[in-house]
Amino acid sequence: MDNLIACHGCDLLVDVGNLEDDSRAYCPRCGHFLTRYQRDGMSRVLAYAIAAIVLLLVASSFPFLSFKQAGLESVMTLYGAPGSLARYGMPALGLIVATFIIIVPSLILLLMVMISVPLLIGRRVPWMHAATRAVFALQNWSMAEVFIIGVLVSLVKIMSLATVILGISFWAYSAFSICFILALVSLDRYQCWQLIDQLEAQA
């Protein structure tokens, strides 16, 4: 029974026990994605997560965009975007934006490290179940890649008004969002819990 998965789209029971390395399983009845097996899946999660954390730290430390006109210059940082909404009377909206572009991605990355390191070194840790539940509850609520498109649209909107310079943070955040997505797609719900079961069975 451990090799069976119930399709999330239609509830069909599907055997996913003998998947080849780097293959995906789809439901034969409704076509829904079921799981993806990668032998080195957890190492990938950790590698991409660490890269994403470093890039996010870089993105937090430098100017994101700067804007020059008639001798005046204004600079925006990554935190400036949600911060400005709070400053001009919309603190709740600022918090929502900060949640989607910074807080949720940071939490997910932290949880990924907390999950993948113990699984890779084969050590039981008390937070394993709670952290894994949390990471899968949060995974649909990150909007890093949507924010990048938002930046590009903003650039076009003000290009004609003045000179806009893309800062180091912009490039770092773009690279971060790519690593972040790669980490997310490497973390498979079914396979992750299988690994947790195996770790706990050993003890």
Partner: protein
């Protein structure tokens, strides 16, 4: 089993939504991860419809009120979502105007319409095309968050362009309602249970055999 398909529910098994483990449907909590177990999402149709109605209502102020105020040489000018699209067309940025129009108008409306259609099809026990309807649900769930582009654009412009007396941007009240539309439709999609469509198909097949 007339269709030849064995589902978890047929075998009296509930699939845990957080860890995928199959457990006897009589249990209330998943023995592996501790999450609450349900055979199907409770009151899925009612909850989804209630959230969709909320999103539809929020969509009205999101389009009527300004999403951003542009202050040029001390003169404020408010613009709505559609107003922003028109300005971009006039500037000649047709591709970007298209991106904003699709993300802010087409995606939310299509998502709300698709989710209304899906809940209606379950409530009225429409049996045709369950595979097509499941695909529609997956697509609707995926595209939802892209509607946030316009809210992010407002946040970025307000943060970046504050040249007092010359040029400044301020957020408009519609940004709240629009973010609300996106959030509420995302929660609505999470509350919809596409397995209900397949359950109805099986019930129909079973009853036609007996």
């Amino acid at each position: 089993m007339s269709t030849g398909a064995v589902t978890a529910a047929d075998s009296d098994l509930a699939s845990c939504h957080t860890c995928c483990k199959l457990s006897p449907a009589s249990l209330h909590r998943c023995p592996r991860c501790g999450a609450t177990l349900h055979l199907r999402i409770t009151d899925s149709v009612q909850r989804t419809v209630a959230l969709l109605i909320t999103a539809t209502i929020l969509y009205i102020p999101a389009n009527v009120y300004p999403i951003m105020v542009t202050e040029y040489l001390g003169v404020p000018e408010a613009s709505t979502i559609m107003g922003g699209v028109v300005v971009l067309v006039k500037l000649g940025s047709i591709p970007v105007a298209a991106v904003i129009f699709i993300a802010s108008v087409v995606v939310p409306l299509a998502k709300i319409a698709a989710m209304f259609y899906l809940t209606w099809s379950v409530a009225r026990r429409k049996l045709e095309g369950p595979r097509r309807r499941t695909k529609l649900y997956v697509v609707a769930e995926f595209v939802g968050k892209w509607s946030m582009i316009d809210v992010f654009v407002v946040a970025i412009l307000v943060a970046l362009v504050q040249l007092q007396g010359l040029l400044a941007f301020y957020p408009g009240i519609a940004a709240y309602s629009f973010a609300g539309v996106v959030l509420v439709t995302m929660v609505a999609a999470e509350n919809f249970d596409s397995r209900l469509m397949w359950d109805q198909l099986e019930e129909k097949n079973d009853s036609s055999r007996t």
